[in-house]
């Protein structure tokens, strides 16, 4: 689904300063229906890599292919509907849950029938009765699941989750983790997730990419075994809570 080759990202430096390198020479493949977990210390470029996959960030080198085509050949708006991004902090717009689910760009047609909205809420484990609740009154976990539902209404092929549980308390985080894992099964969604949660890493299985200072330190496949052992010691230490640099 995604083929990333020698990806580089740098921000232009301010006057007289060198450019800031965010990602350097990242290569990784994510198959259709597969999952990739991005881990690494803060500032290691995990979120930037995620933003490069749906071209919210413009890579300064290398290529990213989505569904067989270079992402530069896609209309960025269409690419982002197919590879939907969910941010760490759920952003709710003014209005009800229904208003938030119905938000769309001009000229884009979506199935926003009552049944469809209720079904989608059910997919993320929320009750259809929430549709007319003010979005601002939802709990953090509910908001995050509404943002996932908002992405699902666009019928994406891939879900990009940027630390979806880090702003949540453990029970809500567990619900979001469970939702993500279930969607991968039910919708055959490709999932790329940035997380510090070992639980999410183990539940999603598949592959792990460990980034430090924008470079790949190790890549490990868990081969679908939810309890698969992680061989790399740095990764083990990272997931156990100590952050080697």
């Amino acid at each position: 689904m995604f083929q990333v080759e020698h990806l580089c990202l740098a921000y232009p430096g301010r006057r007289g300063q060198a450019a800031a390198t965010i990602l350097g020479d990242v290569t990784v493949d994510i198959e259709r229906g597969g999952a990739l977990t991005l881990v690494g210390p803060s500032g290691s470029g995990k979120s930037s890599l995620l933003h490069c996959l749906n071209r919210l960030e413009e890579p300064t080198g290398g290529t990213v292919r989505f569904d067989g085509c270079a992402i530069t050949d896609w209309d960025p708006r269409e690419l982002r509907r197919r590879a939907a991004l969910v941010l760490q902090t759920p952003v709710m717009f003014e209005g009800t849950v229904r208003d938030n689910l119905s938000i769309r760009a001009a000229g884009v047609s979506l199935d926003l029938s009552e049944d469809r909205l209720r079904e989608t809420l059910a997919e993320v484990g929320l009750d259809g009765g929430l549709l007319d609740r003010e979005a601002a009154t939802l709990s953090g976990g509910e908001k995050q699941r509404v943002t996932i539902a908002r992405a699902l209404l666009r019928e994406p092929q891939a879900l990009l989750l940027d630390e979806p549980t880090s702003a949540l308390d453990p029970p809500n985080a567990a619900l979001v983790v469970e939702t993500g894992c279930r969607l991968r099964e039910t919708r055959r969604l490709t999932i790329v997730v940035v997380t510090h949660s070992p639980e999410l890493v183990r539940l999603l299985g598949s592959a792990l990419l460990y980034l430090v200072k924008g470079r790949v330190q190790s890549y490990e496949r868990l081969d679908g075994d939810a309890n698969g052992a992680i061989a790399d010691q740095r990764l083990q230490a990272f997931l156990a809570g100590s952050h080697p640099s």
């Binding site: 921000y11 232009p12 413009e58 708006r77 666009r154």
Partner: protein
């Protein structure tokens, strides 16, 4: 002492008496430990020097009566207004000086053309007595509104970055994604003008009207000019801030509907 048309001309002694007011301010600042004495003294000195210089230059331009001198004055005024409009931005935006210069020049030129060419119609059209003060009012107001709009836009883009990125991630175009922020910036820029229209003449007499009345004009003539000025400033600030915000926000977006995060 009186000048022509019954205007009381102010002598240097009378100016000196007015300067005593600043002396009162300095004493208040010192007694209240406000620490403003030095700034007040510099401010008073700058007021004297700047206004005398401007007075001398304008007197020379008025007596020379050449269109190119008038044009030069307008260009200098526009350059100073442009610099002032962008100097308060918290972070530099690439090309912002030329963006502000374009917005202020176009909005001022458009409004001035209508007011001078259609409404007031002086002869010759570049008559400095009309063109320079009217252009100055338009530029001053456009400058303030552009500065307000720019400050608000920059602050909102940093504070509401996630909101913009969520819209982009949901498939909105860059322009659609920033539209609520553009709207908020324009409102912030227009509020002083709109509030001014609501209370004009009720709270204080506007500067131009006051000047005309002091210069001996009938209040009925003065209000007609003031009405033109209020409408003119409304259009100029709207046009100037709209162009400025639209052009400035485009610096934060790429053709691929991305937000240039490194500018925030």
């Amino acid at each position: 002492m009186t000048g022509g048309a019954g205007i009381i001309d102010l002598s240097f002694w009378q100016l000196g008496l007015a300067l005593l007011l600043v002396g009162v301010l300095v004493v208040v600042s010192a007694r209240q430990a406000l620490g403003l004495e030095r700034d007040l003294a510099i401010g008073a000195l700058r007021t004297l020097v700047q206004l005398y210089l401007v007075g001398l230059i304008l007197a020379a331009v008025f007596s020379a009566a050449r269109w190119y001198w008038v044009l030069l004055i307008l260009v200098v005024m526009a350059a100073i207004a442009t610099h002032a409009a962008v100097s308060r931005l918290a972070k530099p935006i690439p090309g912002i000086f030329w963006i502000a210069a374009t917005a202020l020049t176009v909005s001022t030129a458009a409004t001035l053309t209508y007011v001078i060419g259609v409404v007031v119609r002086p002869h010759p059209w570049w008559e400095p007595q009309y063109l320079i003060p009217i252009a100055g009012m338009i530029l001053g107001n456009s400058m303030t509104s552009a500065a307000l709009a720019g400050e608000r836009l920059q602050g909102d883009l940093a504070a509401r970055r996630d909101e913009v990125e969520v819209r982009l991630a949901l498939g909105f175009s860059g322009r659609e994604a920033v539209q609520p922020l553009v709207r908020a910036s324009l409102r912030a820029a227009m509020i002083p003008t709109v509030n001014g229209m609501m209370t004009v003449g009720l709270v204080q007499l506007p500067g131009m009207m006051t000047g005309q009345i002091l210069a001996g004009s009938s209040p009925l003539v003065a209000i007609r000019y003031q009405i033109v000025v209020v409408f003119m400033l409304g259009v100029a600030t709207a046009l100037g801030s709209l162009m400025f915000v639209r052009l400035a926000v485009s610096r934060y977006l790429t053709p691929a509907h991305q937000l240039r995060r490194y500018l925030l």
